[in-house]
């Protein structure tokens, strides 16, 4: 069974503060993804990675950085958090390639005050 975990599960941050969301996968998948989920918008891709050391911009990367220090770990960094970044964030992993299945973590609920 695919296993993707996220921490923290809930986070309250202040405007202008730095926030780091962490993701760990034990599937040995090459690809990892960060999405945010907002009502009416579905899931929108922020950053993704093809393997350790690689990060790529997704569809909405502004205000976010990503880091992939190892095959297992992928972090999303908000250097200067803003209230518009209040959302639910999901990490996913997959083997990559056409028709790939993405396995999602349980999500992190972030509130920026």
């Amino acid at each position: 069974e695919a296993a993707v975990t996220q921490s923290p599960r809930n986070k309250v941050a202040v405007t202008g503060g730095k926030v780091t969301l962490s993701c760990n996968q034990t599937n040995n998948h090459n690809n990892m993804y960060w999405y945010r989920q907002d009502t009416g918008h579905g899931l929108r891709l922020i950053h993704y990675s093809y393997g350790a050391g690689s990060t790529e911009k997704g569809d909405i990367p502004d205000g976010y950085k990503a880091s992939r220090p190892s095959q297992e770990n992928f972090s999303l960094i908000l250097e200067l958090a803003t209230p518009s970044q209040t959302s639910v964030y999901f990490c996913a992993s997959g083997l990559g390639g056409r028709g790939d299945t993405q396995y999602f973590g349980p999500g992190t609920r972030l509130l920026v005050l």
Binding site: V4, H41, G96, G97, R98, G105
Partner: protein, 113 residues
Amino acid sequence: QQQVRQSPQSLTVWEGETAILNCSYENSAFDYFPWYQQFPGEGPALLISILSVSDKKEDGRFTIFFNKREKKLSLHIADSQPGDSATYFCAASAGNAGAKLTFGGGTRLTVRP
């Protein structure tokens, strides 16, 4: 501009009825269409998928109908059960974009007993 659109945003059916969830897309390069199911408090999980070379895909009570000419597809859930109550996301990817998915806004399905 949303490249993948879903309708309706919410749908209520009675137990035993067939639920029909609709999806349309704009990018002619999209050739892989997975549907993800999400229960409250959880991450999405792959339910069923179809490649653009097919016009129908069945898996138990779940069937995808695909119309390439009209750029439309639909998910039919036969004999709906209360346990099917969830949010369903249509997604799409293009062969040349690897595993990068574009999600629709989702349809929240409620099945009443």
